[in-house]
Each structure stands twice: as C-alpha cells, then as structure tokens.
C-alpha cells in the first residue's frame, strides 16, 4: 500500500438516513488507471468526489500522496482540515466534471490560465504561455480565443482537461467525463484520456464507457449499493466475472449497446 498514490481504507458515508458508501477499501498505485463502474446510485461519483474532499466522508481514511485528506488526526481526535491546507492539497489533484464547468465569461485560453494566475500566482506572460502549451496538448491551440459557447461539447471537455492539467497534478479524477456528450464527440475526449494514461498519469475515472475501461484501465472496480463488489483486472471484471451483480449489470449494458 505504501506505493499507492491514493489509499482508501474503511471509508463510510451517509446522506441522512441513507448509507451511500459502506466500508470502501481501494488503492491506486502510481501511474495506474482505475475505472469505477456500476449502476447509478452505486456511490461511484460520491467516492470519487471524496478523494479531493468535494464530498466529506464520515469515517475511514483517504490518503493522497502520503497525506490524509480532509481531516487532521491530532492526539487521537479528528478535526476538519484547515481550509488553506486543503486548498494546497487540491493543487495536486486535478478534476474533470461531467458538465465541463468552464467559465463562460472567459475564453478557452483564459479558462486554462486562470488557475495559474489566481492559485499559483504566476505572472501573466508565463501563465498565458503555459496555458497555450496545455491547449496544444489536447489539440485545441487554434481555439484559444474562443468562448465556451462557440465550442462543441467535446472541445469544451478537452479545454476542461487542459485546465486541470495546467496545475501539474499528480492525480487526475474524471467524473463521467463523456456522459454529457453527443456520441460522435465522445471519441476525441477518450483519445486525450488515453494519451494521458500512456504518459503515465495516475487516473481514477468514473465512466460508462466500457471500451475505455477494457483497454485503458489497469484495474476496474465495480460498485453496487455503496460497496465494491469486485476490484480486479479489466478482463476479470468485464469479461470473466463470476459475481452475479456484475453479470446482471453488464448484461443490461450489452443489451442497450450492442445492436
């Protein structure tokens, strides 16, 4: 476990009466790509969002790059982590959202440069040139001056990926990155993600794209009802699983998608 970039132990979370995460244990090694799959309501997005503490987990430990996130354990008592310290930790974790969440009043270039200017306090010239390089990395340097409304969904998501990458994170989290895209646009985003994985980025991806999980992931975790039902190699989960819930899920999935 010491080699793991993200180590999740005995994590539980409730929303009111509903327990959405039940004793989750998961480890993500450096440069590993882990995909979280499962039916909606299974807790996969919640789990992902706990990793950068956008959601608070109630008990257990989530350790990112050797440091507990969200809480401070002092003398046997657990307190909420100081806001400034949490922000520091978040600089090392990049997140890509289902709804892209680009800022509409800024161009693509400005969107990518903004965290460099505000969070990393770079000067304007350095920030803009780095932002330009990031856009090149996702193949959108020619769209630098466009506002989000002038970009397709796939382009917007790629800009969002560039924005998250600009902070040079050690870990990238993807929350259903292609679920809001028209089918023809999914491919360009998945390609960027595959390139990222090939470069050695550590990634945790919540997705419904089984093809991506099968080919790009090192491990796949199937969640159902707040528990990890199976956590293993993609082939073992997607093709050879003996778990009934996994088989059931994949059957309905195939029925809807193999025509």
């Amino acid at each position: 476990m010491s080699d793991a970039l993200v180590s999740i132990s005995n994590v539980r979370k409730r929303f009111g009466d509903l327990e959405v995460l039940k004793d989750i244990n998961l480890a993500v090694g450096r440069s590993e790509v882990v995909c979280l799959i499962g039916p909606s309501g299974s807790g996969k997005s919640t789990l992902l969002r706990c990793i950068n503490f956008l959601e608070r987990y109630d008990s257990g430990d989530i350790v990112v790059d050797g440091k507990l996130i969200g809480y401070e354990d002092q003398g046997g008592k657990r307190r909420l982590m100081n806001a400034g310290v949490l922000r520091e930790m978040r600089k090392g974790i990049g997140m890509v959202f289902q709804q892209f969440n680009l800022w509409p009043h800024m161009t693509a270039l400005e969107n990518v440069a903004e965290p460099l200017l505000r969070v990393q306090r770079m000067n304007s010239t350095d920030a803009l040139s780095k932002a330009q390089k990031m856009l090149e990395r996702v193949g959108l340097e020619h769209k630098a001056g466009n506002y989000p409304t002038a970009l397709s969904g796939g382009q917007q998501q790629r800009v969002a990926i560039a924005r998250a990458l600009s902070m040079d994170p050690a870990l990238m989290l993807f929350d259903e990155p292609t679920s809001a895209l028209d089918p023809e646009l999914v491919g360009e985003v998945l390609q960027v993600m595959r390139d990222l994985a090939a470069e050695g980025m550590t990634m945790v991806v919540v997705t419904h794209e089984m093809g991506f999980a099968a080919k790009a992931a090192d491990k796949v975790a199937f969640l159902d009802g707040g528990r990890i039902v199976q956590f293993a190699h993609p082939q073992q989960v997607l093709k050879q699983s003996t778990e009934p819930r996994v088989q059931q899920f994949l059957k309905t999935y195939h029925a809807r998608n193999d025509f």
Binding site: R87, Q99, P115
Partner: protein, 215 residues
C-alpha cells in the same frame, strides 16, 4: 389649457430634470457599489455580517421611501453632518438602490450553475478569488438588463427628494403650478419628462435582455 406657460418655464423644467437625471444616475452607481458590498456580506460565513446585510436589505425595502428620506434628512443635523442637497439626494437614493441591487445580484448569483464554483474549489481557488473572478463578472452581466429597471426605479424615486431640499423637476413644476395656478399643465409636463425617459430606459432594458438571451 394654457401650455404656453409651460413653454415659458421650460428652461427651469429642464434644469430640474437635469438634476433628476444626475441624482438618479449617480444614485445607481452608488447603489451598485453598495449592492455588491451587501451581496458579498450576505455570502460570507460570518453570521453577524450576514445578518447585518439582511437587515439592511429588509429596512430599505420595507420602509416607505418618503419616510426613509424624512429620517435621513432629519438624521443629518442630528449627527452634525452637513451635506449639499445633491449629495444628500445621491446618498439617500444610493442607499435604497443598494438594497434593491443586492436582491437583484442575489438572483443573478442563483442563476450561475453551481458546477462552476465546484471547478474553482477543485482547482484550489480561495473563496475571495472565486467571488471576484468567477462569480462577480457573470453576476454583473446577468444583472445588467435588470439594472435599467433599477435606474427607472431611482428616476421615479427622485421625485421625492425635494424632501431633502433638491429642486428636481417635480419640485420645479410644483413651484410653477402654485405661482401660475395651472397645476394640470405643469404636472402633466412633469409626467411627460418621466414618461419619455422611463419608456426609453425600459426599451433599452428590453433590448439588453434580448442580447443577453442570445449569448
């Protein structure tokens, strides 16, 4: 009716209306500044400040404008402050405008998808940066069509600032109405000034709204 008397008085009426426009526009500017400040206070996590902001909005929207002006006008000598009529009018209008502006901005804030704030949080933005760089520009843009409503509101409100001693257009027409014994003509003239101006502002606001919708 004898509108020739009105024509003779036009220079004075225009001067009065100039003051109307001056204090209304300046009041809107001051009101915007105050409104942003109050909205920011509402948004902080310090309960005392948030409560204060809510009280401010509640007072200036809950008390009749006339009464507000009377209180303000009598407060000045009480506190030993000496303001010119124009400054007093701009202050009074700015304060009430600020309360309406804060509500307006709150509506604009609610229209911004929460995901954009989340993206900022995930990237490690501080709350101040989020407010200043991500939210405020959008809020002001969203609120711009409604700001013309704000201006219309203050133009109408300015009709009462004669209470603080300013000779704006309503007061001027009152004076002439009394001296010429021709109230109807002069008040219709005053009404015409307001009507034309506010209709124009309303038209601008509608056009702005349509432009916003396209973007």
């Amino acid at each position: 009716m004898h509108f020739d008397l009105v024509i003779n008085a036009l220079p004075f009426l225009f001067k009065g209306f100039g003051l109307t426009l001056l204090v209304s526009v300046m009041g809107t500017v001051v009101g915007t500044v105050i409104g942003v400040a109050i909205c920011a206070l509402r948004w902080t996590s310090i309960p005392a400040l948030s409560r204060l902001a809510a009280l401010y909005i509640s007072y200036f929207r809950g008390v009749p404008l006339l009464v507000q002006l009377l209180v303000f006008y009598n407060f000045l000598p009480y506190a030993g402050i000496d303001l010119s009529p124009i400054a007093a009018a701009i202050c009074a209008l700015g304060m009430v405008g600020g309360a309406y502006m804060a509500e307006l901005l709150r509506g604009a804030l609610a229209a911004i998808p929460k995901g954009q704030v989340e993206a900022g949080v995930a990237l490690g933005f501080s709350p101040i940066s989020i407010g200043r760089r991500l939210l405020l520009p959008q809020m002001l843009r969203l609120a711009t069509p409604a700001m013309t409503n704000e201006l219309i509101l203050l133009v109408k409100a300015s009709s009462l600032v004669s209470v603080v001693g300013l000779a704006e257009v309503t007061r001027v027409s009152q004076t002439f109405a009394a001296s010429t014994l021709r109230p109807m003509e002069f008040y219709l003239a005053a009404g015409a000034f307001y009507l034309v101006t506010n209709l124009f502002l309303a038209y601008c606001g509608a056009r702005l709204e349509r432009k916003m919708a396209r973007r």
